[in-house]
Amino acid sequence: MAIEISNRLGLANVKSGYIHSAGRKLEDIHEQLLELEAKGEVKVIHVKDENKAIEADTLLGWKKKIPTNKLWHHKSCGQCGNIPGYPVSLLWFMNQMGLEYVDERNQTSCTAWNYHGSGTSNPVGLAAVAVRNWHRAYELGLFPLFHCATTFGDYKEMRNLLVEHKELRDEVRRIMHKIGRELVIPEYIVHYSEWVHVMRFEIAKLKKYDLSNIIATVHPACHTYKMIPEDCIYDKDIYAGKRTAVSTGVALALGAQVADYSTWYDCCGFGFRHILTEREASRSFVMDRKIRPMVREAHSDVCITQDTGCTTTLDKNQWIGKAMGYTEQVPVMADVMFAALACGADVFKIVQLQWHTTDWRPLCEKIGIDWKKSEEEYNAYLEELKAGGKTVNLYEYPKS
C-alpha cells in the first residue's frame, strides 16, 4: 500500500541558525596537516589566490576553501566508462566560465571502488595511489578536483590516516621516492559537487530554461557525507543545515523545486561488489528504497545524484523492476548534468544522455528542450566522424 503524501516540497528551502554538532569532538585535521608541513614532514598543496577559492561551511562549522580555477581533473572510472556526460558537463561549465584546468592521461584510478568491493588492497596501497595522483597535480602547480564520491571519501580517509600515522607516512614516502615522487597532501580534499555548489549562482546566470515546474529529488552519495562526515559542506539555508547542501543547492539556485522523500538517507544499493555480482540486491534496493519513494511520495521528475556508482545503479536498475510489476520510473543524472541541461548544453553532444537507460525524454520535454533536434544533429555528427571527420573537443592536451 503506497503512502501518498501530498506536500513534500519546501523542506530544502528551510533556513536556520542551527549549527550541527552531532555530539562530535573531533580534531581539525587541516590544522594538524599544517603543523606537519611546518615540521618538514610533508609538503602541502595550498589553495592559492589564483585558485579563486570560495569558502563554505562544513558539518561542524569549520571553513573549507573550494578552489574554482587552475584545477587538475581527477577523473572517475565509472563516469568515464559509462556516464561520459558527467565529466563532459563539468568541463563544459568551466569553458563557459573561462576557467583553467588540465585533463590528462597521467592519472590512475583511486582504486577505492575495487578496495571497497573486494578488499584486495590495503592502507599503504590506497594511500600511495592517492599521494601519487596528488603529486601529479602538485608538479603541474594545479589543485586536484575529484570527480567521484568514492575517490572523495577514500582520499579524505587517506589524508586523515597519513596525518595521524607516522608509520604510514614513512612507508608511503619510501614508495614515492621509488617512483620519483614526494609525499604531498592537498590542503583540502575537494569533490566536484563542492565546486558546483560554490559556483551555483554563477551557473544560474547561464540558465536558459525555466525549471519552476520541475520537481527534483536528491540522492546524496554515502561516500560524500558519511565517510569523514565532518568534511562535507552544510549550509544553514539549505535543509536548515541538517543535510548536506551539495546538489540541492544548485537545483534550488536554478529554480527547480526540490522535494523531500522518506528514504533520502538510504544508499543507492551499489554495494561496490553487489552491483556486479549480487545484482538482485542492488536492483531490489533501487526500486524499493529509492525510486518508488521518490516517485510515490515526491512525484519526482528527476533524481539528482552526485556520484558515479549512485548514478549508474539508480539509472540502470529501473527497467528490471517491471518484472515485479513496478511501474515507477524517474530519470537519473548528476547535479552538473541537470545544471548543464538547464543552461542549454546539448543533450547528446555534451550531457550525453543517450548512454542512460531510464527514459529522460519526458523530462526534457517538460523543461522545453528539443531533444529530437539534438538527436538528429548528433546522428549526423556520428556519420561525419565515421567518414573521417574530426572530433570537436572541449579541451586539447597541453603541448608540453
Partner: protein
C-alpha cells in the same frame, strides 16, 4: 586439515585466535572499534540489513567480545554482505565504524586466501584485471547486453559503433573503448611499482592465482614497452 563427521573442516582454535590478533593489531582497530552501547542504531540504518542476514551491531559486539570463535563466524560470507556505505559509522553515537572493521576483516580473508573470499570474488575478476593491469577499472566495452541483460534493451546502445560514439565524446582522454580513460603507459608503470611495494599483487595472487598470472603477463608487456 581435519574434518568432522559431516565433512566440515575443523578449524583449530589457535588459528581463529591468530585471525583475531591480526585484526586487533591493525593500526585502524582502535579508531573503528570503540565503546558500544548496543543501541542498534547502526543496524536500523544499515542498507544491506534489509536484504541480508547481516547486522553491523553484531559485527561490533563480536569484535568487542574478543572471542575468536565469534569473530571466526563472520569470516565466511557474512562480512561480504556489507555495502561499505558507512551509514553505520555516520550514525553511531560512539563513533564506531563497523564498516571500517569489516574492511579490515575482508583484507585478512583475502590476504590469507580464504575459500569464502575466493568464491565471493570469483565473478569480480574482470574488474580486478582491468584495475590492476591498466589503471582504471570500468571500460565502455564491458557494458554489453550479454553481461547486463537485466539493465534492459537500451544497454545495447554501447554494443554498436562504440568506437565512433566514444570518439564523439568531446574529451580526448575518453575517446577509447577498452578503458574508462586512456591511461599513459608510464602512469601504469608507476601504479605497478606501488602495487609491488604495497603487496597488492601478492594479495591478488593469494585470492586468484590464475588471474594473477594473466595480470603479470600484461604488466610485463607494459613494463618492457
Amino acid at each position: 586439515m581435519e574434518y568432522d563427521e559431516n565433512g566440515v573442516s575443523i578449524v583449530p582454535s589457535e588459528f581463529k585466535k591468530e585471525i583475531f590478533e591480526e585484526a586487533r593489531k591493525d593500526f585502524r582497530y582502535e579508531e573503528y572499534v570503540r565503546g558500544c552501547l548496543n543501541c542498534g542504531v547502526c543496524t536500523g540504518g544499515c542498507p544491506p540489513h534489509r536484504f541480508f542476514d547481516f547486522s553491523p551491531r553484531i559485527v561490533l559486539q563480536n569484535m568487542k567480545s574478543k572471542d575468536p570463535e565469534l569473530i571466526w563466524t563472520m569470516m565466511d560470507e557474512y562480512i561480504w554482505a556489507c555495502f561499505q556505505c558507512f551509514t553505520c559509522a555516520m550514525i553511531c553515537p560512539f563513533l564506531n565504524s563497523p564498516g571500517g572493521i569489516i574492511a579490515v576483516l575482508r583484507e585478512i580473508a583475502v590476504r590469507r586466501g580464504f575459500e569464502s573470499a575466493k568464491k565471493v570474488l570469483k565473478p569480480y575478476s574482470r574488474v580486478l584485471l582491468k584495475l590492476t593491469a591498466y589503471g582504471n577499472q570500468l571500460s565502455p566495452d564491458m557494458i554489453q547486453p550479454d553481461f547486463f541483460p537485466d539493465w534492459g534493451p537500451h544497454i545495447g546502445y554501447a554494443s554498436t559503433d562504440l568506437a565512433v560514439k566514444r570518439k564523439a565524446i568531446p574529451m580526448p582522454t575518453l575517446q577509447v573503448t577498452n578503458l574508462a580513460w586512456d591511461v599513459a603507459p608510464e602512469t601504469m608503470k608507476e601504479l605497478y611499482d606501488i602495487f609491488d611495494e604495497a603487496g597488492v599483487f601478492k594479495i591478488i595472487e593469494s585470492v586468484d592465482p590464475s588471474l594473477y598470472e594473466i595480470i603479470q603477463d600484461i604488466v610485463d608487456d607494459v613494463r618492457s614497452s
